[in-house]
Structure formats: C-alpha cells, structure tokens
Subunit: 205 residues, 4 copies
DNA sequence: GATGAATGAGTGTTCATTCAT
DNA sequence: GATGAATGAACACTCATTCAT
C-alpha cells in the first residue's frame, strides 16, 4: 500500500521526457480543476497532454501514480513557500508578518486550483498517504515554535504534543475544509485576514 | 448536474415503505463504513438491505439520492445533538460547559462512523449541496455566540460571516483532520480538552 | 490458483439462466473452433451468445471461468463415453471390443471440435488444473487393465504410474497429433483400426 | 495468417549480426522458460538480449518470426541428434541401442527447457506450421524402417503409411503430451525407459 | 546500423440502471 | 408492489510495432 518515493517507471532525465511528464501532470491538474475527478480518466489526460495513452503509461505505472506525483509536487512547492515566508530576509521591513506570508502561501498552494487541490487530497488519503498531507505545516510549526521561544523566557510554555497537534490542524483544517467545500470565501482577503488572526491567537497559547 | 433542493422528496407514508427505506439507508451507511465508497454499489446496498435492486429503485431515483438522504438524516441528528448541548436544562449544574457538550457531540457525530461521514460529505459537495453541510453547525454557532455574549455588553460585535466560517471550520477541521489521519490522539480526553480550550479561545474573538 | 468446484457466481437453477449459461458456453466453443483462442474475447463470446457483456459477467467471474467450465463439461462427457465403452452391457455380442468403443469415443470427444479441445486443454493447464485433464482417461485406464487381466493369472503386474502415463499418452498423443496436423487419416476407419491395434499391443505390456 | 515457408529468411552474414540474432533468440528462450509466454514480450526480449527494441525489429519482421526461428533451430538440432543416434559408429559396443539413444535425444531436445518447448510448439501450431513439428521423427522413421528391413526377409512386412503414421505419432505424442502438460515425469530415467520399451514394442509390429 | 520514445487498437471487467415478469 | 436478469457505456491498462533521431 505504501508506495516508494520513486514510484514512477523511469527517471526522466532527458529534457524531452521531462517535458512529457510535465505535460501529463499539467493536463491532469487542468482536467481535475475544470471538469472534476470523474472526468480525469487516463485517456482524457493523455489526450489533453497531447500524447498517446501508451506514452502516459511509459512514465506512470498507473493512474494513481499520476495523482500522487502531482500531489507531492504541489505539496513540496507549497511547503517551500511556507518555509520561505517563515524566514524573512534581514532587510524585510518591520511590518512584514511571517505568519501572514506563510498563511498566504498556504492558501495560494496548488496554484489556487481548488478542485484540483481537493482531488489530490482525496488521492493521497485514498492511498494511505494522509501523513504527507500535513508535511508543509508540520515543518513550519517547528520553526514557529523555535522562533517563538527564541528570545523568550520559558521555552515551550505549556506546549504539549497534543496542543501542537490541535493548533496546526486548526489552521490546516480551516483551509482544507474550505477547499473541500469549495467555499466562495476561499481566496478572499478577508478569509486570509481571519486566518492570520486565528493563527496569532493560537500562537499566544 | 445541479439538482433542485427537493429532488428526492418521496414521502413514503406507509410503515412498510418506511421500513424498506430505513433498511436501504442503514445498509448504505454500513457498507460505507466497513468497506468504503467503492464497495457501496447499488447492488451491494440492496443485497445487504435484503431487498431487490428493483425495489431500491422504487424508493430512490438514483444512487445519489440514497447518499444525499442519508447525509441529511445524519446531519440532522448531529445538529440536534449539538444544539441540545448548547441549551442545557435549567437544572444543570454551574459547571456544565455547553461548548464542551456540543464539541463532544460533534466528535461523536455520525454514530462515530468516520468513513461514512467522509463519504456523505463528499456526496453532498459533489451534488452542489455544500450549503446544507454547513447549516447545522452554523446554526449552533449562532447559539454559542448568543449564549457567550448573553451577560455581556456588546453582542456579537465584529462577527462576520467569514469570521464565523473560519471559527467553525477550525473546530470541525481539527476533528476531521484527526479522523482522517487516524491519530492516536483522537478520542482521548486530552484531545477533547484541547479542542474545548481552542473553542473558548475562538469565542473570545 | 486452485479454483473451487462452484467457481461460477450463481447456481443457474432456473431454466432461463441455464439457457443463458449454455448459450455462453456454446458460443465460446464455437469461436474457439472457428477462429482460435485469440478471437475468443469476452465481448465476442457475449455477442455470439446473443447476450450483453454484463450478462456474461453475471454468470462467470472472469474469462478463465468460462473456459474452465467448458473444459470440465466436455471432459466429463468424453469421460462418460469412454467409461461407458469400457463396461459393455451383458447382452452385447462377443465381438464387441470395449477398447475399440472407448477409443472411438475418445476420437469423437469434444464433439469433434479439435481446436476447441486444444484451447480448453491449454486453459486447464494454464490454470494449474492439469490433473483434471488426466483424471478421466486415467480412470478408464484402470478399468482397461482390470478387464484385460480378468481371466488371466497375474493382475496388473509391473504397472507403475509412469508406465500408465506413457501408455495413456501414447493413445491420446496419437489422436492429438493427428488432430493438430489435420492429417487426412483422421476419422478414417483404418486410422481407428491401427489405434485399436496399438492399444491392444500396449495392454499386453 | 498462413505464412509461406521461407517467411523469415534473412541471412545475416556478418558475425556481429549473427551475434545479435543469437542474443535475441537466446533471450527469448530464457524468458519463455523462466517466466512463461505471457512475459515474453518483444520489449522484454530486447532488454534481456541487451539490444534496443528497434534493433530487434531490424532482424525479425515481427514477434512470430522470433519464435518460429527459435523453434526451427531447436528442431533442427534435435533432428540431427536423433539421426546421429540412429547411425551409431562402427566401433560402438553391441549393447548400444540406437533407439534408446535417439529417444534420449528426442527427450533432451530444446535443451531440456520444457516450458520453452511448449511455447514453441504452440507458436508453430498457431502459425500453421504443424507439419514441421514432426520433421525430426519422420526423418528418423525412414532410417529405422530402412535399417529394420535391411537384413530382413520381407521388406515392410505389413507396414502401411497409416501404421507408420500411428507409430511415429505414438512416440512423439507421448513426448509432446508430456511437454504440454508439464508433467513431473518428464526427464526422469523411468520415463525414458518406458518410452524405449514402447518404441521397441511398436517396432516389432 | 542502432536506438527507444511514442503509439493506439484492443482487452478484460464494473456497475448504475431498466423493464418484463 | 417487488423482483433480478439483462444491459452496455465506460474504464484502466498492455504490448506489438513504427520512425525520427
């Protein structure tokens, strides 16, 4: 059930191969976004990618692999953006809030493609890879906690594993719920503002 | 694709009919929980319900109707339990926390059938009935806010739809994430305690 | 790998069901004979049987099951005919040779459909059911040996599994080879005569 | 479907070419033996042979050609061995039985690779080249008959074409059946002994 | 000559739904 | 009203073969 990292068939080192792989992944993302998961058949993905169905299967062992690869790729991108937000450059102004930047990155994840995000979350869960889902935030959480106690007095004041768990899931949970429900609030400034407030409140323990 | 709200109204008044409908709904819920959405075929549901597939189609126009009806039913039950928690009887002791009772109800929701819950939420979303999903909890939210500011000065000052949305999803999101990830924390007292604390913090705006 | 006896999905007790099953089996046999194994796709079988592909899958769990069922059926029929030949009725004339009758039955086996016979034998082998293939003829072999030594002195002295194997395969092998090579001799009286002589020779050890 | 006899003549005269051809044929034989016919895809053969799939198609017009060439090659080798056994050197001891030597060669054919043998027999039959299958034995049979009547009285005493046909097919048929059924007896000393006995019996008419 | 990325017709199989009994 | 046999569009996936490099 648990798939290895190099789940796909061949390491696409050559430029051409990489372009093909990218075309397939982008096609999958686009169909997911535009027509939903039911329309994302392997044949439809291949057609939109402009490759034969056989070519698709030369790069991915099965349909799941496409979705998982896509999910990991988007998750990695989001994770990087979130972490970048946590470590602002020295010359950043006083009024740059790392938390806001990171939450913004979190919301903007998956290129803002909400339905794609939903479908990929589903795919990861359906394949028993739920833990990968929280990877970007778990990483960021550690940084936050470290930074938060940096110049402070008592280290993890009252911070327990369960508390940390609840806090991170509160933030991610709001975003995930919003994504799953495809709410209209998603992506609005007010939504982001409220999330930032929530995060700050939680940080204060 | 978008179905009208009362798409599935078919008031089976006779007792026998009602028993058949109930059997079908319970069968669906059980399969969803035990074997997942892919196993919940109409034939499997009919078989477990002890009726012919034709009979099933005499009570429900299509498969979606079964899931939607079931979702509404479970949602209503959970909503009632949550609301009941919000309005403690007069003779309840001082130390009864309505929020705690409601959150407990939320955790226990859908008869504890997590997989069924997930599948039904999906069904509702997939059928463009997202608003039904939020209605019960939004209702409860209003009660909480009202109750919370009861003895206070300014009522729900500053409460906006988005803020309410974020607050409710924070709580629900934690529960949903925990369920999905099958964390060991789920169901522990400490988990519930932290959630209650989180909720109280959020209430304080 | 080893399939249970009641490999198929439902015991077709009703006349209609039985007719459908028979139609599917007969269609499979016909395609096998006329166009070879590669043409015997599930869709082609269903089409010739005059049923939908879904109906086919209501009676057989997969393609293999069709071939295995057909093989067993034909094998049973041939086995019965061979065994019947071995046990001539009391009022049969002196000049009725059980061996000849059985060999005749063997040649006529599988309704004379040679290509079907070959494909079904393959199917049984490919499914690890090789022993079923030999059972009927091995059974007949025992009867022959018993009958042959009936009035003699020493019973089946020196008969070993390998010897029995070689003897049965000599007879069956001639028939199979002749069928495969589509020799003009196949079906002639002289061919049968020579086979009977061969068999008698082999019996004498 | 029916291919002409010299369908696959492509005389690769250069040494390098010959090495490539041999590598492909040996790879095919090995996969057939180790993993069965389903695994013997053209891509798999090319990979094991250490050549590109394109190269494979430069030497063989299609997949069938590989199997047929391999079959003919093995058959020719077996035929030579069988014939060599029939003509023992003058200095061979009295107790050298030509029939035993030849039957041994027949059994050892295809380098003892039973599954390969089975698959190649299939390939030949499937391509309407069944008659080639008996070529080694037909050749040997003539020699036997000639030798048998050499110093004898009446030439082919009672030997008719049909009788000869039945006799040769009895021997080949046992081996072929054994190969097709992948019996465990195949290759044992006892199996060979019984076959030799059978052959001697048949020779005696 | 050698290569291997690309191809797509074709396969076995599923399952929501219908309708004659 | 109840039934379940029948349906067939649709899906994921394979592999012999081609051809531009």
């Amino acid at each position: 059930m648990m798939k290895s990292i190099d789940y796909y068939r061949k390491n696409p080192k050559q430029a051409r191969s990489q372009a093909t792989v990218d075309a397939i992944l982008e096609a999958a993302a686009r169909i997911l976004q535009a027509e939903g998961p039911r329309a994302a058949t392997t044949n439809a993905i291949a057609r939109l990618a402009g490759v034969g169905i056989g070519t698709l299967y030369q790069y991915f062992p099965d349909k799941n692999a496409i979705l998982i690869t896509l999910a990991r790729q988007e998750l990695a991108l989001t994770g990087e953006a979130v972490n970048a937000g946590m470590s602002p450059p020295m010359d950043a102004g006083e009024n740059v809030d790392p938390l806001r930047v990171s939450i913004h990155a979190l919301i903007q994840g998956f290129k803002g493609r909400l339905r794609t995000r939903k479908a990929l979350i589903e795919a990861l869960i359906a394949n028993g890879l739920t833990e990968e889902l929280t990877f970007p935030v778990d990483l960021a959480m550690k940084e936050v906690l470290a930074a938060g106690t940096e110049g402070g007095d008592a280290g993890g004041s009252g911070m327990t594993p369960v508390k940390a768990y609840v806090l991170t899931r509160a933030i991610v949970g709001v975003i995930r719920s919003a994504a799953m429900e495809e709410t209209a609030y998603f992506g609005t400034q007010e939504f982001e503002d409220e999330l930032v407030k929530l995060a700050h409140g939680l940080m204060a323990v």
